[in-house]
Amino acid sequence: MTALAYGVAVALLVLGLASIVAGRNVVKTLIGVELASKGVLVNFVATDPAGSQGIVVILIVIDAVVVAVLLGVAVAAYRQYGTLDLDALGRLTW
């Protein structure tokens, strides 16, 4: 059972990272960040369901803050460029 949970955690992390790396749209990147962070949560809960409660709650709060900031920057980018496509931003060299 625990092995299955660890498998799910790794799968979520890989899916999330793949979405961050491959996603052209900022919103897809954001979904990737969320998926990967859920993988982390599964890993903590699978190890010690009772003892990790505090850690998990704090991590959920941190996730919310990071996503809020990322959305804020995405909105600012949309106002400047009129698009959410990462490939279309290109005034700086990547």
Partner: protein
């Protein structure tokens, strides 16, 4: 009042300052930067004073948050990070009060600066791996908002987006590594118990994976090559005082966080070798990238990468062979880097502030020719900082590099000589882009430059303070070593509480 409550005094002062500076900014008509700036500076002075009080007590001090378990452990490393963070924060705050960095939103700018400082202080104070991550995130999130602070400038927003996406992914890798450690030890994260718990467990497989996740995760924020690509844009596009905060504080603090997390890993896992290779790669690639730059702020941004490399390399040599002198060198370079990079970026900000009203582009070395005759304080500060960064004795940057070279030379045989040659060779390589800066600053002035006013006094004060730090730390490294030595011991010998 027992000594234990003092342990969280710096954090209380700083987080109180975050709230206070915000309220002061909101209650000011006309969005003037003076009142929030003064509140922020007061909070930083209070935090610095309480850090000094902690330094005079016998360390380590443990403090249990909410009366349960260990939340905070004050060690020499905490005092070291806290001192650097508060000094850099103070210089940045004074500079931002005198310039237009806060961009009509002083109620947000100063709280973000304080939150970054608080995050770094917390990295030093954290007693377990999870709270280390939490404070690392506090620092990271505050800088996510500082980089694209000028939201009306398209390039700043783009640099910010790139910075946030890369570092959010990096943070996820770091916390995944921590969750692997948690799974491996069955729920132990406290630094004092972790070292023993990790040695007792069998099978290094998951632990090696966790080390990789931690190195890569913290490495993104620390701009270790090949994870550095966000750095040049973020440093160039953020407001001048925010660049100084990032370069002098946030990035080196991420390396210290990485070192603190890795200090509990038992000897069986070759952490040292990994850091050595990454450090050598980082300084060499960083130096070559900086060689072709003509934009002064971008050149300084690129030159931050090799300095990250020196620190990582120093930690790598230290972990590899357990040499005291390499740990000393790495942390001394963190201290020196704060003064050198802080002074350089603040001075570039002062020049930019004076040139803001002038027509045409004014960031390349050609456009800045001769600025040294019109703004001697700012250009002189850049000259001192650049020489110190190149490692010219007797300035601050020389000693850190010397200790790292001495540490590498202790590795036996030809390998040790080779490692030392890599560091020395990179120092000479860096002169290739630092010397043109000196040449340009004191060239014959261009028309735009020759009508400039002198450095404004309010900007000159923090710049001169940083420059004085660079020179004094170089002339009397013993003062720095008093602070660095015990901190390096904590990093080297683990964070167990010795009764």
């Amino acid at each position: 009042m027992s000594g234990t409550h003092l342990a969280i005094a710096p954090l209380i002062a700083l987080f109180g300052g975050v709230l206070g500076a915000y309220l002061a900014g909101r209650s000011t008509r006309g969005r003037s930067a003076t009142r929030p700036g003064v509140v922020a500076a007061l909070a930083l002075v209070l935090a610095l004073a309480s850090t000094w009080l902690l330094w005079t007590r016998s360390l380590p001090i443990e403090y249990a948050l909410f009366g349960e378990g260990v939340g905070v452990r004050v060690t020499a490393l905490s005092v070291f990070l806290s001192t650097i963070a508060c000094m850099v924060g103070l210089a940045v705050t004074v500079h931002a009060m005198g310039s237009d960095d806060s961009d009509d939103a002083a109620d947000l700018y100063f709280p973000l600066v304080l939150a970054t400082v608080a995050g770094v202080v917390g990295i030093g104070l954290s007693a377990d791996l999870f709270s280390l991550y939490v404070f690392f995130e506090v620092m990271a999130v505050a800088t996510y908002a500082l980089v694209p602070f000028a939201v009306d400038r398209a390039t700043a927003v783009e640099a910010g987006l790139k910075y946030v996406i890369m570092n959010a992914a990096g943070s996820l890798l770091a916390i995944f590594g921590i969750s692997l450690v948690y799974a491996h030890t069955g729920g132990v994260l406290d630094f004092a118990a972790l070292s023993g718990a990790l040695t007792a467990t069998t099978g290094p497989g998951p632990l090696e994976a966790a080390v990789l996740f931690l190195v890569v995760g913290f490495g993104v924020k620390a701009a270790v090559v090949p994870l550095h690509t966000w750095l040049p844009d973020a440093y160039t596009e953020s407001p001048a005082s925010a660049s100084a905060l990032l370069a002098a504080l946030a990035t080196p603090a991420a390396i210290v966080a990485m070192g603190k997390a890795l200090s509990v890993v038992p000897d069986g896992v070759s952490v040292g070798l990994l850091l050595l290779v990454l450090g050598a790669l980082t300084m060499t690639v960083g130096n070559f990238l900086a060689l072709g730059q003509r934009d002064l702020k971008r050149l300084l941004a690129y030159s931050s990468i090799p300095h990250v490399g020196y620190i990582v390399f120093g930690l790598g040599v230290g972990f590899y062979g357990g040499f005291d002198v390499a740990f000393d060198g790495a942390l001394f370079h963190v201290l020196a880097n704060a003064f050198m990079k802080g002074g350089a970026f603040l001075a570039v900000g002062a020049i930019g502030y004076r040139l803001a009203g002038v027509e045409g582009e004014h960031r390349t070395l050609d456009a800045l020719a001769g600025v040294g005759y019109r703004m001697p304080v700012a250009a002189g500060a850049i000259a001192v900082a650049v020489l110190a960064l190149a490692g010219v004795p007797p300035l601050a940057g020389f000693w850190g590099k010397l200790f790292i070279v001495l540490g590498s030379a202790e590795v036996s045989g030809a390998v040790g000589v080779g490692l030392a040659v890599i560091v020395v060779g990179n120092s000479f390589l860096s002169l290739g882009y630092y010397l043109p800066v000196l040449g340009a600053l004191f060239d014959s002035p261009t028309d735009a430059v020759s009508s400039l006013d002198r450095t404004p006094t309010r900007l000159a004060v923090p710049i001169l303070a940083m420059t004085a730090g660079t020179i004094l730390l170089g002339l009397a490294p013993a003062f720095g070593l008093d602070l660095v030595g015990p901190a390096a011991d904590v990093l080297q010998h683990g964070l167990e509480v010795t009764p």
